[in-house]
Symmetry: C2
Subunit: 160 residues, 2 copies
Amino acid sequence: MLIRQSESRDDDAIWRILEPTFRAGETYPIPRDISRTDALAYWRLPDHTVFVAEDADRIVGTYYLRANNRGGGAHVANCGYVVAPEASGRGVARAMFSHSLEQARLRNFTAMQFNFVIASNERAVRLWQSLGFDIAGRLPGAFWHPRLGMVDAFVMTRTL
Amino acid sequence: MLIRQSESRDDDAIWRILEPTFRAGETYPIPRDISRTDALAYWRLPDHTVFVAEDADRIVGTYYLRANNRGGGAHVANCGYVVAPEASGRGVARAMFSHSLEQARLRNFTAMQFNFVIASNERAVRLWQSLGFDIAGRLPGAFWHPRLGMVDAFVMTRTL
């Protein structure tokens, strides 16, 4: 798997990956009916660096890296990761996380924080815990899940 | 005290209030050298509704109200409050909070979350606790305080 910084020519592939996740509305607090333009603008916010994971010349995942805050909070990184549905279970998230950890260290971040890991996304919670993240907080009822209704979300952190 | 939605003619007064807080760098994760333009752009982000508190025709505080997330997280409000240094200790923050609670309810938010209450800002932590907020999480070392060095930050939540 090759993980590299994205270019604008990757937009179609990134949207192909983001669309099913955002349409499902189960893991990201993004409107389920978000347009391609708005989704790409969100993923590519000016302070985001966006990467793509390629497997056999096909883009199977994408993530962004940014500072979670500015000023006195600028030493903590934040990332968001999405894997293409057909590539699920093949270690793409884990590979992207490993890459993001290295990139965050290169940029002198000393910690990483995920602000909103939906509690019902148990696979993600377990993955992040296995990769050194602690649950720093539980946000009661912070997310309306389209099938489950109101669920909690976790703030997860780890040092780098 | 009159609390009302801000207008563009309030920008000078808002900046007069924000500047000492942002320059001190002890309570908001904002660059201490932020410019007036960038500070006002941050305070007036497109998804923020900004209010000002007037006492005897002088603006003594300002706050913003926004949805903390979109999509499945859009039912949780987020606010930031700043009080003019000369008006400190006169209940301005409490009055603005009370106003924000009402405004948040009017907008059908069902909870409020503060994402980043610096632990060394003990007065704020106590105020929010007295106003019904719980510490939902502690973010270890999430903030570089200009005098104290690395300090924790709290995520605080309450229902509306």
